[in-house]
Symmetry: C2
Subunit: 557 residues, 2 copies
């Protein structure tokens, strides 16, 4: 049987190539899906054949193929904003003006491109999703939102970091009606299923079977349009294929948005801090690289995140067209928020609600306290780094200069330079030693305080993400209780309630697995982090001792 696909977006094929233009809503018959690099071959109703991006179409289920269905309203998609930023530089484009006025490309990259290229498009998609959802009978959408806000404030979501564009978050993902009530039924291939297993008295994500790492290499300044526009690109190399990909900050940002949308039960590691401190461009870029490495490391070590499709796409795609296709596909992902729970396979055993409530409450208290602590450590690292690089350095320099000036005075009483006494030389060397120690104070933070701060930036993000996770869970539990009440009032059938309870348990299992994952990760990670930090501190003070001991030898015994 032939497979049919429906175009989700307009695509203009390049003239005089094998590409074919398609129009949103158009039904095509698939000829070949083995073209590679994200391209498929198909035939349109006029009998023309050609290639189009696989991501621009969706396969129709057999029952859909026969009927001529109205395509969903296409998003107003402005292709000029979709590429790797190339098209935005047409004359008169205000983005182009910005681009040239910030030739360094970083601020631009950070503040403007990110939102102008990805933000608006995705917001429209979200709004569209919202409209496609089926509210519960007799319950207007505004009620969901209202209810959801109440729930969020129960857990004090102000504790967490404020999420970008949070007002556009489709309420369905949080309330999870479509998942809990099983109105959305998507078949998840086995390869994409995620398992939760019992390990002693804990529930855990099925561990990573093929661990890998990804290095974020020192960023390069790349340029486009013969140098008119330059930007910073980070080089990522996964250990599983050793193929380097180049990603700009805006790509990370796009990825981060997708992950936050998709995984409402898993806190997503944060991207680099905009408040990052650095005294010159290179240092700043390096700090961002380290924080991106922390992000990447956390992703790689997470059993669920490490294997999710959008992340894999981000890590491996080297082709521009495939990139676009994958990007579209990720943005069309139906398994967002609680819907993602469809992918999760949990133990058969039903959970005891009181036990789950207790653990969630414990976690809430813990996270509340951790939020304050990790912020305080992160701020302390930043403040201490600054102090070392300014006042500690200056203090040592003052000490050094005072000794140097003493040596200079003493040498005035010694006639020629050649006759400088041993004492004068020794005092001069002492002065130099303290000036050197000042430089060491300046240089040191990159080995201890900054990496520590970067680690706690990560934890700030993870911990800051937990209140939302807990709220998502709590909100599902509240739904369940509402349905239990409805069932008691005979407004819902017992069979349907049982399915709701089963699905709520999946949500709870997911929370428990994530709580345990966070605990295991941070224990291992903080142990290593603190030791590394202390070793660097010890090395530093040992170097100071060495420096002073060397100086001492200049004096007469």
């Amino acid at each position: 049987m032939t497979t049919q696909v429906q175009a989700l977006y307009d695509f203009s094929g390049e003239p005089n190539t094998t590409e074919m233009s398609i129009t949103c809503g158009e039904i095509l018959t698939l000829i070949n899906t083995e073209i590679g690099e994200g391209w498929w071959e198909g035939r349109n109703s006029k009998g023309e054949t050609g290639l189009f991006p696989a991501a621009y179409v969706r396969k129709l289920a057999p029952e859909e193929s026969v009927q001529t269905k109205a395509a969903p309203a296409a998003p107003r998609y402005d292709q000029a904003n979709d590429d790797w930023g190339d098209q935005q530089f047409s004359a008169g484009d205000s983005n182009f003006q910005r681009g040239t006025s910030h030739e360094e490309g970083w601020d631009d990259d950070w503040d403007d491109d990110t939102y102008s290229e990805i933000g608006p498009v995705q917001q429209q998609n979200k709004t569209q999703y919202n409209q496609q959802l089926t509210p519960l009978p007799g319950m207007p959408i505004s009620d969901y939102n209202h209810h959801n806000e109440d729930t969020a404030s129960n857990y004090g979501s102000s504790v967490g970091t404020v999420k970008k564009n949070s007002s556009f978050k489709p309420s369905s993902k949080v309330t999870g009606e479509s998942y809990l009530l099983a109105t959305l039924n998507v078949e998840v291939p086995d390869s994409e299923k995620v398992y939760i297993v019992q390990e002693e008295d804990r529930y855990e994500w099925w561990p990573i079977t093929q661990p890998y790492t990804v290095t974020v290499a020192s960023p390069k300044k790349e340029s486009k349009f013969k140098g008119i526009k330059s930007f910073i690109a980070y080089q990522l190399t996964p250990s599983f294929n050793n193929i380097q990909v180049s990603r700009r900050y805006k790509h990370f940002d796009w990825l981060h948005e997708r992950l936050q949308e998709k995984f409402t039960l898993i806190p997503i590691p944060p991207l680099p801090d905009k408040q990052i401190s650095g005294r010159y461009d290179e240092q700043l870029i390096e700090r961002r690289r380290v924080q991106l490495q922390e992000f990447v490391d956390w992703m790689c070590r997470h059993p669920v995140l490490s294997k999710c499709e959008v992340w894999q796409h981000f890590l491996t795609c080297t082709d521009e067209k495939r990139w676009k296709a994958g990007k579209r596909q990720a943005e069309r992902d139906a398994l967002l928020g609680l819907n993602y729970c469809i992918s999760i396979v949990v133990p058969e055993k039903a959970l005891l609600q009181s036990q789950v409530d207790h653990i969630a409450e414990q976690c809430h208290m813990f996270i509340n306290s951790m939020d304050t602590s990790v912020k305080s450590v992160a701020n302390m690292c930043m403040a201490h780094t600054k102090k070392l690089q300014t006042s500690y350095k200056a203090d040592c320099q003052k000490v050094g200069e005072a000794f140097c000036s003493l040596a200079a005075s003493l040498s005035l009483d010694e006639g020629s330079l050649a006759s400088t006494s041993k004492l004068t030389t020794a005092i001069k060397m002492t002065g130099s030693a303290y000036i050197d120690i000042g430089r060491m104070y300046d240089d040191q933070p990159k080995y201890d305080w900054e990496p520590l701060g970067d680690k706690f930036h990560l934890y700030k993000g993870i911990v800051g993400g937990f209140p939302d996770v807990l709220n998502t869970h709590k909100s599902a539990i509240q739904k369940k209780r509402e349905y239990e009440r409805q069932t008691a009032e005979n407004k819902m059938q017992v069979a349907q309630l049982n399915e709701v309870i089963r699905r709520t348990d999946v949500v709870s299992y997911s929370l428990l697995a994530e709580i345990n994952h966070f605990k295991a990760e941070r224990t291992k990670d903080l142990n290593a982090t603190m030791q590394k930090f202390l070793r660097q501190q010890i090395t530093f003070y040992k170097r100071v001792v060495e420096k002073l001991e060397t100086t001492l030898k200049y004096y007469d015994e």
Copy 2:
């Protein structure tokens, strides 16, 4: 032939004792000078006999005895202020009020007693000296002063520390007329003579033959009048007799004034700084003790100062009446300023003026530069100490508290206290370690920065005294040139000029010897000081390393 004395001050003899009252200006005939403890016996014009303090009278020269000379205007001497402070506590005395309102007795001792008990008396004495001097024919006193000020400003006396009561300094001591013109002829016993010898190409004070040290012990709070008044007394123990004497700050201050008056060619080490820093009384008192020890050490190591009479009196006198007598005697010392040069025995060889000028000029330049340097080191030590005890300590505490709060948060996720994980414990220990290091920063300065500061307080005083020494010398040289001119104009005889030249050479020899002494002393002293300082710094940083290494062991490998 009977010896007559003239009362310099009023003295009220205790009624119904062997004591006799005397009135300032009164002429008495000496009967017995072997009474001891500073008392002499005499007979007044009415034929009454009795004891009076030897220090209250001056022996009349044979030629003075016959004539009934008008006594010099007596200083308004308030005996209540002369003793060891006993008499000042009569009811209604304002000092008494102060004494009780500042029961600690230090501020009082420092700021009030010192000046109220010794200051005014001595100032008046000086004024008296001034009036007794014989100005050069045709040169009014105001000219000397004016001339002297000019000279002082040549060498930029503003460089030095401002001397107390410097406006009362008798100009004769600086211009040294009576010494240079040999109008003052005092026989100096051999035991009090001071020798300058040639050592290779340098002139040096004859080295100390019997070196000794004096320890300034931790001060005690003593009290008088059954505890109504308490004060700080320092316990001095010279190594040559091992007999402890108790001295208050005001005694040091009095001694210092005498030394500055007497030795205008030798910079006198300074007393403790009034700007001394300390956060509580005991620390402050200890700092002052250390600075007094520095003063005492410098005195002991100086070939001239270490054996001078007033210093020996200060070090050894344990009897109250002897103390008073010695005090009076020191205050009546005729060999002040250039006049002291009568005690100095120099090599026969005449000095080459151009060579002396060159050395003095070199010294001037060097001292100018040193003055800036030693002040800068002293200030730096003070500022750095303060920083360590405030911001460095606070910074470490902030670091420690951030880690401790992290450990506290982590323990919330571990149930009972008993189940605290190894990691949580280790992080808590890390926090404690940094708080301890903060305390170490607070405590450390007393081992390194404060002693270094105290040493440079000493050098600040010595170096600050040199411009006056150089000015005294320069002024003598200028006198010599003036006499050479007068001789050329036949206004002075060649024989007298030769004596002036010989005596000017003594002044120059003295300067050269002092320059060399300072160089030798500081070389030895700074070498030891800097090494001690560096060793303490090394010890400190090693202790930090140890602390962190101990902490590291709490973590899992």
